[in-house]
């Protein structure tokens, strides 16, 4: 006989918890409810309503969440696990396996500095330094006000323009440390 009802999305997560874990969990859910000032839970429910809860829905759901929120907050992964009735670590395992998924909240502006061979030779590290001097963060970091995220990436395929910096999908070629400051200031 097949299971009777779909797992109720209202029920608790897949797992038991220690007292400490429970405290963490309810705190996390509260954080989720007013994450970034928006009521994320409703957005999640909209995403969940579009699928039937099969395990194969996992990757599409994560993609949708990332589209809406810009990344995968921990709490959203927990909710997804709850919805799909799987362990939250299984969601985490998939989310960390694919590089397309972003696990921390990115800044409003994403600054990518190329460190491919050509750019490296033509002074990419000076560019990264200039960015760091201006924003106070290095590659892989986000400013406290969630305005900027800096990333180091490998070749963009625009080696002729090296060194290359991409800001919010706009490509800047032949950048210099001085140019970096101008570009960043223009953003504000």
């Amino acid at each position: 006989m097949s299971p009777l009802l779909l797992f109720s999305p209202d029920a608790a997560p897949f797992f038991s918890r220690t007292i400490k874990g429970m405290l963490y969990y309810s705190a996390a859910i509260r954080r989720l409810c007013d994450h970034g000032g928006t009521f994320v839970k409703e957005q999640l429910n909209e995403i969940f309503e579009r699928c039937d809860g099969a395990p194969s829905d996992l990757i599409p759901i994560l993609q949708d969440i990332q589209d809406v929120l810009g990344y995968l907050p921990r709490e959203a992964m927990t909710e997804t696990a709850r919805f799909l009735n799987m362990a939250e670590t299984s969601v985490y395992g998939v989310a960390t396996f694919y590089t397309q998924f972003q696990l921390s909240r990115p800044g409003r502006h994403r600054i990518k500095v190329c460190h491919g061979t050509a750019c490296h030779v033509r002074g990419a590290s000076e560019i990264t330094k200039a960015v760091a001097a201006k924003l106070g963060i290095g590659p892989g970091e986000t400013t406290d006000d969630f305005e900027f995220t800096v990333e180091a990436v490998a070749c963009f395929g625009s080696c002729a323009l090296a060194p290359v910096m991409v800001v919010n999908d706009k490509v800047y070629g032949n950048v210099t440390p001085e140019r970096v400051v101008e570009i960043l200031e223009d953003l504000n």
């Binding site: 006989m1 097949s2 299971p3 009777l4 009802l5 797992f7 109720s8 029920a11 608790a12 997560p13 897949f14 797992f15 038991s16 918890r17 220690t18 007292i19 400490k20 874990g21 429970m22 405290l23 963490y24 309810s26 921990r74 992964m77 927990t78 009735n85 799987m86 362990a87 939250e88 670590t89 299984s90 985490y92 395992g93 960390t96 396996f97 694919y98 590089t99």
Partner: protein, 903 residues
Amino acid sequence: MNRITITIDGKAVETTEGSTILEAALAAGIYIPHLCHSPGLKPYGACRMCIVEIEGMRGMPSSCTTAATDGMVIRNDVEQVNKVRKMTCEMLIADHPLTCLTCQANQDCELQTLSSYLGIQESRLRRMTRDPKPEKDESNPFYTRDLDKCILCGNCTRACHELRGVGAIEISGRGYRSRVAAFGDAPVLESNCVSCGECVDRCPVAALTAKKETVPPSAFTITTCIYCGVGCGLSLGTRSNKIVQVLGDKESIVNRGSLCVKGRFGLDFVSSEDRLTTPLIRRNGQLEEADWDEALGFVAEKLKAIKEEHGSDALAGLSSAKCTNEENYLFQKFFRAGLGTNNVDHCARLCHASTVAGLARAFGSGAMTNSIDELEYADCILIIGSNTTEAHPVLALKIKAAVRSHGATLVVADPRRIEMTQFASLHIRQRSGSDVALINAMLNVIIEEKLLNEEFINSRTEDFDKVRECVADNTPEWAEPITGVAAEDIRTAARAYATAQRSSIVYSMGITQHTTGTDNVLALANLAMLTGNVGKESTGVNPLRGQNNVQGACDLGALPNVYPGYQKVDDAEIHDKFEAAWEATLSDQPGLTVTEIINAAAEGDVKGLYVMGENPMLSDPNLNHVKEALESIDFLCVQDIFLTETARLADVVLPAVSFAEKDGTYTNTERRVQRVRKAIDPPGQARADWKILCALAGRMEYPMAYEHPSEIMDEIADVTPIYGGISYPRIGKVGLQWPCPDKDHPGTVFLHEGEFKRGKGKFHPTPFRAADEEPDSDFPLLLTTGRYLYHWHTRTMTSRTEGLEQICPPVPVEIHPEDAAREGITEGATVEVSSRRGTIHANAVVTERSPLGTVFMAFHFHEGAANTLTNDAIDPIAKIPEYKVCAVKIKAAADRPAEIGAI
């Protein structure tokens, strides 16, 4: 299963069809190198060490994923295969720290075995170190995770997901950044890990190690876990008279090597400094050390004096569900034959008296009808009033497997959102105390919708009409306002249970600990008989017994109304049989129950109380009353391994030994009699309970002399038909399930096949009655009590394991967010919980695990003893107190008493 033969390196190996080449080889004692294979886990095929050549096949398939087929010719230990293995192994070793000499897994490491087998000397590959070097995760109090040594075999993660159904860890990331991680790479203590240690057991290297297991044992003893009624097989590794390692017994039918946190990591109490090592006698108000001669003399004298002056029935004894079968037998024999009273009872009164009363009336036997293993193959399982994963963790694994591997439908009926609900198709949250209404409504649906098994009812049962009449008006709509469960959900549950091929009912104290406890059990029995779900495999009515040997203590007559084997004391024929066997004059009046003993003590009718291994000062309801009773009694003797709350009040305290220091047997919840074996010597002058009883009886002119517990078991077999065929040699490795009437009987896996013990199964009408105390405007909340995974009963044993205390510190009270908000209670705040009987302090845990209007507390903590609050109203038949329902109020406390740690 078909037997087939394969050839490995020229050697013929016989195996069963369906096993893999690797399994066949290992079973035959042939080593095929392997790292990611672990028994009971699905084949993974990741490490590529187990590759072999198979005649007629191309390449080198991995033997752990390839099924053996008849006539297969396999080459294992040959140069071309080992060459490939060697290369793979060298890559693994390239970034593995070569610190074998100081490694905790030294000599117990698959990687060592492998590299020595392959003759690896110096890695030809460049040494690499992981960058950054992973930090050790020391957060869990029981085990360390050192990912620097991890070889990513996935044994731990698969065990956690597949076997335990927990899924606390998973291999995350990819490529060089792959790692075993808890959710969000958090420390494992913050995850949902339940510290079962399965992953530690299965790690082939030292990436997961138990903190306490720093030296290898010099001997192993196979024995049985002391904690719960599941009765897991343990393998105690000992050295220098200490337990240095605890493993699950892989050959045990009950647990197949799995354990829970208490069994694996919670045995520190055995070597605790606080153990009693000498007898104590109260002099001038103080308990002072004494020797055995003096103490036993004193006890004998007191008991004799009370008997002479006030008669035998002024004496009473509390036997123990923690002690062995043999000890329980001797205890009741001593009281009945030596002292002449039937006033013997034990804490089963407080947990499953209603089971014994109810199932005996309905079926003729008060025990779990079916076996633990069968649960895995049930098509529908109804769990009602059992927090299975916390109270019977290893048994819960079978139910999880039934759901996840065999697609069983699980219906959980429990007011709380317990872990098991995560595996359920339907969670019913009935109000505590409304079970009869719920079950009656299910019966009503099954009868109305004609889902009943008429053939079974007609041929095997009687009095069905009385039940039909009784539940005729108990429609789901009638039950809805009483139970708080939507009528439609009741219908769904009833249909699921009635239409499945094989349905099992699993229940525990959520059913029994009510003033309607016996009715609850009878109603469940009605449900099973109505649908013919009893007397065949994977069905039945299955009470999960709490204490490790509560089944045995009941079986061996530590009950006021029956001799061993449930033979009635007021049955003249039986009475004569025991008078002859024990060569003594016996009372034919049933004695007093635990609750009655306490009341009689308070009123002065019971003058002398002998307590063996029990702690009524925490376990009994309405504690203030218990305290008064025990303080007012003339003589109190306590035999225990610790100075418990009860022992502190005693006149004489006798030091007993723990399960690791004695021989005997326990009977687990599925009626399986299993061995307990002595692994170490007891501390100081402590003596086994059976030896103390024999010595005392000797001084009371009722000699009982035995050389070894096996002799006691032989005597038990003589006088107890259901144990008739049980003897130590027969119990052997896997135990023996009663009824086992004679020496050739193989034991009984499930009861009532073909015929009920009492002949016909008897339906009993169970009209709904409300709980004794309902919330009202003064005490608006309902308190229900239970347990946590990390503690055992009154915490006498578990509080001696630091890690358990760390994970589950005293004293939580779980409360629904809305109730908390109304009372202005925030998470972690100290609160005062009061009932009509007392007030205690606790820390609020705000959680939807508790339904609206209900708070939950565990009864483990003397710092905030839930039983100060509980109601001692009792079930009229079974005399079990109503632990599960009482009315309380809760408010924020002004300050936090020191003994309640902050959370």
